[in-house]
Symmetry: C2
Subunit: 334 residues, 2 copies
């Protein structure tokens, strides 16, 4: 009832243990006849090399740890999927390590726990404060890279990032070009400093000679967006909103509509991420499309480079694009 080991294979095939190992790893040539016998024995017994023993002996990990503050939100889940796809292709397994808060002890526990496994490398999802904290505490001997939105906090670590600052500038400009006097921002929780989305928004406004209105801070929950929408509805001058993500944008729209404003008639709304449901909303949401799965692929590629070369690779920048749908329009002329 116990899994077969390499010695069993050797016995069945009538060869020595190292010969089996060589056949399996293909490092040294083995006669066709013996290889045949070994393969047959492997198949017959259903033999699987023991990963623990293998990584102990070869000193090489076989898994990639992904540190994430969350696994259910769209952007996170999609990025993790991208990493998983690329890792699977390259023969690695992905272990998930959720870092619930940026609290030192929590972060340390998560890292410690993960480090107990035979890791080949780590990817940190630097999308939120726990991510930033995890990156800061990552031991230097472990090859690590980061997936970020809008630049990384640690320039010494190579990262793949969405240029959200750029995207936010574009989105804000788009709204201004439509004729809006100003653009309000409903923000996702910040990463310690300011999110690139917020920075870009502010920059675009300043460039246009407009003093940015106060930021409305919301959480990740769409319901927080709803509250923000209700608040914005009270301000008659608020005709355009850039939301920190699509869930928030949807909440904002609902809050606005429930407060008697129409979209895009009275208020234009732009989101971030291109959530699968965004296009089905009424009205379909104008948003900034982010290729999270692609980000996952890219960041894994970076990690492979880091593991093989040892040297940090130059970072990869990904450019999100604005998808114009029907939640945005010219402001009502007054």
């Amino acid at each position: 009832m116990k899994p077969p080991v390499i010695a069993d294979v050797a016995r069945v095939a009538g060869v020595s243990v190292p010969t089996v190992s060589r056949v399996l790893n293909g490092t040294v040539p083995v006669s066709a006849e013996r290889r045949e016998r070994v393969m047959a024995a492997v198949k017959k017994l259903g033999f699987r090399p023991n990963g623990a023993a293998r990584s102990l002996a070869s000193q090489a990990g076989s898994m990639i740890a992904v540190f994430a503050g969350n696994t259910t939100r769209y952007g996170y889940a999609a990025t993790i999927q991208g990493i998983e796809e690329a890792a699977r292709q390259a023969g690695y397994m992905v272990v998930i390590s959720v870092v619930e808060t940026a609290d030192g002890a929590t972060v340390e526990r998560a890292i410690d726990h993960a480090l107990g496994q035979p890791l080949a490398g780590a990817v940190v999802l630097e999308f939120d404060p726990p991510g930033v904290a995890a990156l800061a505490q990552m031991p230097s001997w472990l090859p690590a890279v980061a997936a970020a939105s809008g630049g990384s906090s640690d320039e010494a670590i190579s990262h793949a990032y969405m240029d959200d600052r750029h995207a936010a500038i574009q989105a804000t400009r788009y709204l201004l070009d439509l004729g809006h006097r100003t653009v309000h921002h409903v923000a996702i929780p910040s990463m310690g400093v300011e999110s690139a989305r917020m920075v870009g928004w502010r920059e675009a406004l300043r460039d246009a000679g407009i003093e940015p209105p106060p930021v409305i801070h919301a959480g990740w929950d769409p319901l927080a967006g709803y509250d923000a929408g209700v608040r914005l509805a009270r301000d008659d001058g608020a005709t355009a909103v850039l939301a920190g993500n699509d869930e928030l944008a949807i909440g904002v729209m609902k809050g606005l509509v429930d407060s008697g404003r129409s979209i895009p008639g009275d208020v234009s709304v732009i989101g971030f991420d291109d959530h699968p449901l965004s296009q089905l909303w009424v009205p379909p949401l104008t948003t900034v499309r982010q290729d999270f799965v692609g980000l996952g692929h890219q960041v894994f590629g970076l990690l492979v480079g880091r593991m093989e070369a040892g040297e940090p690779r130059p970072s990869v920048r990904m450019v999100p694009d604005l998808v114009v749908r029907q939640s945005t329009g010219r402001p009502a002329s007054r």
Copy 2:
């Protein structure tokens, strides 16, 4: 620059290697004085036990593999989160193994790959055909449990499941009680046989003496729901729809509305899952709430029992509940 090993700790603390091991694992009493010294040395060196070596020596895995057909969809992601939370609490790491198709080779590759790691057990998300296939090919020596929606395909394996059949009956009855003549069903991809949601729907109709209309098969994509909605709009007798999940329901609603039908005026729609955005839809979606995170907790508990006792535990049934919001109402009187 290499991570410290147990021998380093022993040397620094002035004790033997096994003593360090005993302090760390707390299996055998060690004098307070030595324990003190060992702890100090561990802290000083930043020692982390090597997981590979540990599981090799103790013959016990330290991780839980989760086999899933997908990781981004709401129900999957939330269940995985529940498993991860419970596993983390119990000191296990979670490795994700995505099984993209039910194709034999694909499933085998995924399982083989995961089995290379030091696994303590496995959880299969039996939500779709890949899940069913993975469960079928799971080796018997590995403690495994399943998280299912509406009963498992393999009664020999203990599972936690959502009683979706029951929930579908309730939802369908609710619509009939409102006065609808019949209820249409837009189905998620089947699990080989029929989904419990579909079975319950059909059963409720038959119980009411109504011959079930043809099922409309859609994919997982909300856009498939849209097409279904457009089709349903052509049928004047279609006044009530039970959708396989909320994403589909949202697509269906959009398709109906774009085809000139109003909700719930002309057509009532019920979804499944209570997706976070469902309540923000216009109108807010009546749906069957599923506690996926709780399902994850439960199924992990089952796995722990299986790992400790060796014997399969009785299965756990979870009862989803109908959340009535504004997408359902009485049919227009004609």
